[in-house]
Symmetry: none
Subunit: 142 residues, 4 copies
């Protein structure tokens, strides 16, 4: 299995933020986690609210730990809210089940990490994240 | 009261995983808890998401601590979500109330432990768990 | 980087327990974590106290998260107790800094997981763990 | 009061890592917090243990929240360990009181954030952090 590198993470973060600026989004916060759910890199743009680390982290963390995209987590939460609540109990409240959490895969499809983006609408967050991951030559599953 | 043994647990886990492979399920994670709700044995198949221990554990833990099957817990959660949320507050968020959590009973009907299976749909998780428990000569109540 | 497989984990656990029985140790509990600190497999022998999962986990978890062996963690705790207390605060109290926590490396020296053994003296726990890891053809650093 | 900017944070992180590489240190992890103790940016070099975010964060967090440098916190912990334990109770275990936690001040001496560095010895972590902060034209108090 490939590992997500700090060079990958730097490209993902810089390209996600650049995409957000090009789209005219509010200031973004972007986290990159490794395949174990541990923080590799993070940036919070000037003007973003101070609590954005936890939101970005929560979007990405659920992707790694459950192997589900943010979009899939949201669908499950809408169908079966008590299940996602229970999942969050099991993970110490660290899962934020909405779009903007994206699984990162290597060329063989193995999960090598996740990206979490927050700051604008969930759909815009997701669009910026996918652009950032593509810029690093990786596959995003959001 | 009989106690669930490590030999029981090994048979349950191996047979649950074999059943899942035979059914063509996604990679499974299987935990066996004793009558006190404490982990006796666990395996996570290659390819399962890293957070699956917490989900498997949460399915089994509620079975032992509440004396309710995963199926019964789900029914209660759907009728009275706030109640299962409150239960989870009392149990530190460790209860995941869906099928795949199975009470294990001895021949007299006494609870001697529980099994939690996660990885595919809740219904498929449950079917594999019941096969694993039966392979150990025990009675599963899911 | 290689990944620790469920086959590796099964061999490590079976061989650690066999070694403990050969050495005449008390009943052992053995956990195998992956490179992200997530549980891959666990067994608690009949006769071991119910809380042994948390101790085995805590020995292995610190190895992965800090990149330090259980022996090195104990040395640091003895020199600078407040530091290991603070580390434990940062990791939610999950680190048990004594021998019996062993880093598992691949042939290139990369950390691919950790093993935690508890039940007898820390030194005996470590000896059994190293035998189990060697039986899987891997390198243990304890 | 000036605020620490994302440009400041990028320079601090890049320069701290460059300094560590120049000094021949082990792979570093570097966090920059704002004046409210909230994460602004973070990087973990390839090869660093996965748990390093929590340690870097803990070094910087105590600096902001207590207005004490990592060096001063260590002195207090060595004199009065129970006090720093109690502080950690109040702060949810998030304070790691050793060198490598550095207060960042503006030209008027106001605290605008903190940097936390971990990976090598505490003294080397501190030296790299001070170099990174100086490279951003700011004053580090370690």
């Amino acid at each position: 299995m490939a590992e997500i590198t700090i060079d990958n993470a730097r490209t993902i973060i810089a390209s996600t933020i650049a995409k957000g600026q090009e789209m005219g989004l509010k200031p973004l916060s972007v986290v990159v986690l490794d395949a174990g759910g541990h923080v590799k890199a993070f940036e919070r743009e000037d003007g973003a609210a101070p609590g954005r680390f936890a939101i970005a982290h929560g979007k990405a963390y659920g992707c790694v730990m459950l192997g589900m995209t943010g979009t899939a987590q949201m669908a499950r939460a809408e169908q079966q809210a008590y299940f996602m609540n229970a999942v969050n109990g099991a993970f110490g409240g660290q899962v934020v089940p909405v779009p903007g959490g994206v699984i990162v895969r290597d060329n063989d499809g193995a999960v090598i990490g996740a990206v979490g983006v927050t700051g604008d609408t969930s759909d815009n967050d997701l669009e910026a994240a996918l652009a950032g991951i593509a810029a690093a030559g990786l596959k995003g599953d959001g």
